[in-house]
Amino acid sequence: MPTEFESSKPIYMQIVDRINFNIVQGKQPLGEKLPSVREMAVQMGVNPNTIQRAYSELERMNIVETRRGQGTFVLDDTKLLIELRRSYQTEIINTFVESMLEIGVSKEDMVKILSQHLKGEKQ
């Protein structure tokens, strides 16, 4: 199924994000091969040159490696998983905190509301 993309961010970066997210979620296991450029292009409905660029970017970020004649593989490195997870956590928390501040919730209230929410209580 072709994928929807945000309009302002480069498509290749959105694909990088998506693959990283799949790694964090465990849908794309460490050490395993990514789909070929063509397969991924067909899957996502995206130009193969864009997929190639996303794979190169992942390689530059030391998340995948290309093995000659075999394809592109996610590094088999648990440190990678920890780092990716941490960076997603930071990103999600930043967005959360920003949005809460925007609607006028103080930091103290934020903590209160969040812990209440996690306990399953209504405000």
């Binding site: 199924m1 072709p2 994928t3 993309f5 309009s7 302002s8 961010k9 480069p10 498509i11 290749y12 063509r38 292009a41 067909v42 996502m44 409905g45 995206v46 130009n47 193969p48 040159n49 864009t50 660029r53």
Partner: protein
């Protein structure tokens, strides 16, 4: 393979379809020709396929001026509905096979299956979506160096459109082919494109790589197009 348009002007009667247009296309890329209806997109494709000739300027494939024989190298999907109603689906494929040396009959059979087209069904009983699919089968089955698609999605529902996009990506030979898609449905084809060319009432008003638009300008193709149209109208 390269396609070049140099100072090309095309008039229909007194009306300019294209005014002094310069364009270059190279292999391995997917280009989107975007603009409103009547802006000159179809004329550009017809000039490249040798169906019409410029009033002035030169259109060339691999530095050779376009002629009637250029259709050997160019597969052109017209926006018109152009099948013989009495034909069955398989007759259409046979007909194309008899007309084009580069027609890959096996590929056509695979594509028919993938597009779920019944070879024994008469063309006149096909739905609009299936006629669109059949047109694409006949075009993509050719191993031509240039593939021109004129409004390949017009009037097709989103499911058919997705299926067509996927077959395009699967069957285009990126090492050897140039793909040019003319459409006014800009948002739909954006993820497919390497570059977009904006045509506006006979003038090429912009050409840009899609990733540059997003990365440096922060714009989608549609936003980019609207912006240069607005700028153009101020002048």
């Amino acid at each position: 393979m390269t396609i070049q348009l140099q100072n090309v002007t095309k008039k229909y009667g007194k009306d300019f379809a294209l005014r002094n247009v310069n364009l270059n296309f190279e292999k391995g890329k997917i280009y989107g020709l975007v603009g409103p209806n009547g802006s000159g997109k179809s004329t550009t494709l017809k000039l490249i396929s040798g169906l019409v000739f410029p009033n002035s300027g030169v259109v060339s494939l691999n530095d050779e001026a376009i002629s009637r024989k250029s259709s050997e190298k160019v597969a052109y999907l017209t926006e018109l509905d152009m099948f013989y109603d009495a034909f069955k689906v398989k007759d259409v494929v046979d007909f194309y096979n008899s007309q084009f040396q580069d027609f890959n009959y096996e590929k056509a059979q695979i594509l028919l299956k993938e597009m779920k087209l019944d070879p024994n069904k008469k063309v006149k009983f096909l739905s609009k979506g299936n006629r669109g699919r059949l047109k694409l089968v006949t075009t993509l089955s050719r191993e031509a160096e240039v593939i021109l698609l004129d409004e390949p999605f017009s009037g097709l529902d989103p499911m058919v459109r997705d299926a067509i996009v996927q077959s395009l990506l699967q069957y285009i030979d990126f090492d050897n082919q140039i793909l040019l898609i003319a459409t006014h449905e800009i948002a739909e084809i954006e993820p497919l494109l390497d570059e977009a060319i904006a045509i506006y009432y006979g003038d090429v008003i912009g050409q840009e790589k899609v990733e540059v638009m997003r990365e440096e300008l922060g714009l989608s193709v549609l936003q980019w197009f609207k912006q240069i149209v607005a700028k153009n109208e101020e002048e």
